[in-house]
């Protein structure tokens, strides 16, 4: 955690986490403070996100259930609230099966490295006004560098299992990563361009305030920002292997893909990593586009900043689940085609759009309307053209009836 001095003007809820940290550190000798502070930050992050993972699995199953008009898990504890712990006990007590021909080292290493890599990205996310584990100038870069190797772990899992389904999953994971890393990064560049910084705290700070008193300066509320947000979320879905891009897992095609030969706690670790990855990318999206911990309206700032962050994060995660409940899966060639023929060109055009937005920051009055119109057109027109070419030859059909 940062050691910025606590402003006294803020509400006690806002500063409560810092005071708790200081109180804990006060129990230790001065010489241990630097390490204790880091350990505390790690412990809080792992604890909070671990708990969130546990209840996210429950929330996903509940939400999926309700969307499918069934109750979801409701037997363990009140309304199923103990279900995650029952699952954990089950996963821990299950036999850990390693196939005879498997590459044992990689087979064991894959889930561990995946969890670790999914988690370290969280270090640079500002969860609240004063809550960021590490202040980095190149924090955005760090985040994507940390997440770059996650699909490598999936590849390891798939390859080490010595199972043909797993191998196909490994190949798919590689193809997916190569395709989606590019639009993911490209959709972030406009934000960096406009905010003029790679630091996450500075990007959040740049989104503070309101235009005309009610329109927050969040990036998502600009044409280029909305476009970049959508691109980022699509790429994030693919990066975290969530439906409709869950091709490495693809249970109707590859049984469980890279997870086929995993059981017990290793399997649980993969799940944990999936949710950590999902949470990390959503947290990044909140930071980059949704104003981070900023409240949507001035008078809503009575709630502490981290509550706003959590609310936005949970909303995005619910969106992930909602999408999973609704969409079918893409095919691997369609997946890569979508990335290269739609997302990448859109992201590049969006970059130009953001540059225009950045250059015209001084326009006001009627010029402001022109600025919005141009930027909006620069999003809508390429979208229509690109999507039409992407879906050429497809569409609703008219059916005839046999003459009787």
């Amino acid at each position: 955690m940062t050691t910025t001095s606590v402003p006294s003007s803020e509400s006690w809820l806002e500063v409560a986490p810092l005071q708790a940290r200081d109180a804990l550190l006060g129990l230790l000798p001065e010489s241990l403070h630097w390490i204790a502070s880091s350990v505390l930050a790690i412990a809080v992050l792992v604890g909070a996100f671990g708990l969130m993972f546990a209840y996210l699995t429950l929330a996903e199953r509940k939400l999926l259930g309700r969307i499918q008009n069934r109750p979801g898990p409701n037997r363990t504890g009140w309304a199923g609230l103990l279900q995650p712990f029952a699952d954990a006990v089950k996963a821990l007590t299950k036999e850990d099966i390693v196939p005879r021909d498997a590459d044992k080292v990689l087979h064991a290493l894959a889930p561990v490295s995946l969890v670790a890599l999914s988690l370290i990205g969280l270090a640079v996310i500002p969860f609240g006004r004063h809550l960021v584990a590490i202040e980095l100038d190149a924090a955005v870069l760090y985040f994507f560098a940390a997440g770059a190797a996650t699909e490598l772990s999936i590849f390891m899992a798939g390859w080490a299992s010595r199972n043909k389904y797993s191998l196909l999953a490994a190949m798919r994971a590689l193809a997916q990563l190569i395709s989606y890393e590019v639009p993911l990064l490209l959709s972030v560049v406009p934000v960096v361009l406009v905010a003029g910084t790679l630091s996450t705290t500075a990007i959040v700070a740049a989104q503070g305030g309101w235009a005309a008193g009610f329109w927050p300066h969040w990036h998502v509320l600009t044409p280029w920002g909305f476009s970049a947000f959508c691109l980022f979320m699509i790429a994030a879905l693919a990066e975290s292997n969530r439906s409709p891009f869950d091709l490495p897992e693809a249970e109707s095609e590859l049984i469980a893909g890279h997870l086929t030969e995993y059981s017990g706690f290793k399997y649980a670790l993969f799940f944990m990593a999936e949710y950590f990855g999902m949470a990390a990318l959503s947290a990044m999206a909140v930071t980059l586009f949704l104003g981070g911990w900023q409240a949507p309206l001035g008078w809503l700032e009575v709630l502490p900043s981290y509550v706003w962050f959590a609310a936005k994060l949970l909303a995005l995660l619910a969106g992930f689940i909602w999408i999973r409940a609704t969409f079918p899966r893409l095919r691997i060639d369609q997946l890569t085609r979508l990335a290269w023929k739609f997302l990448v060109p859109m992201a590049l055009l969006n970059l130009a759009n953001a540059a225009f937005w950045s250059l015209t920051a001084g326009w006001s009055g009627p010029l402001q309307a022109v600025r919005w119109a141009v930027s909006l057109a620069a999003v809508v027109v390429p979208f229509l053209l690109l999507s039409r070419s992407l879906f050429s030859g497809l569409g609703p059909r008219v059916y005839r009836y046999a003459p009787s």
């Binding site: 969307i67 008009n69 229509l384 999507s387 992407l390």
Partner: protein, 205 residues
Amino acid sequence: MIGKGLLQGLAVTARNLVGSYHDPDRYTTIEYPEVKPALPEAYRNFPFLVAEKAEDPLGTLRCVACQICEKECPPQCIYIVMDRDEKGKARMKPKVFDIDTSVCMSCQICVEVCPFDAIKMDQVFEIATDERFNALLLHRDQLAKTNTYFHQIHPTEAAEVDARLAAEKKAAEEKAKAAAAAKAASAKPAPAAPANPTPPPAPAP
């Protein structure tokens, strides 16, 4: 416009999410062990044997061990041995009546072919057991259930059966009476049930 279908789909799932909280037409789950499903009257499961009296179920079985059901049972899960006295004369009662419920496919053909309305379909479906062989082979004493029970589970059908049996009995008695009046006192009384099984009457709706 591309993406419209996707948004429509999201709207449908959202509607169902909300609907599952207030619309019983969408949220149709019955939480089974706590809430028992309402079985329709026609529901059938494994067969049972109808007995007249609860005090002596085995003694008052309607079954006369004619073995028609045994012959007609498609998976051949019924096994019947006629009860005989010391001289080998048939007592018109089953000594052994076994139904292997692990083989039975609940098709109701035994019920349809039975001329004596002696075997009917039960509605007990919670028959799970941890013993695959003996526990699923039901014997005479386990199969015998009273007519009252039959009335409870299939009231319409049971009422019809009772009415028919009563009518048949009355007809038989009158016939016997007429025969007795016409012939001398030495004539034997006719049996309670027709000697030749008639084809099964059309089942009750």
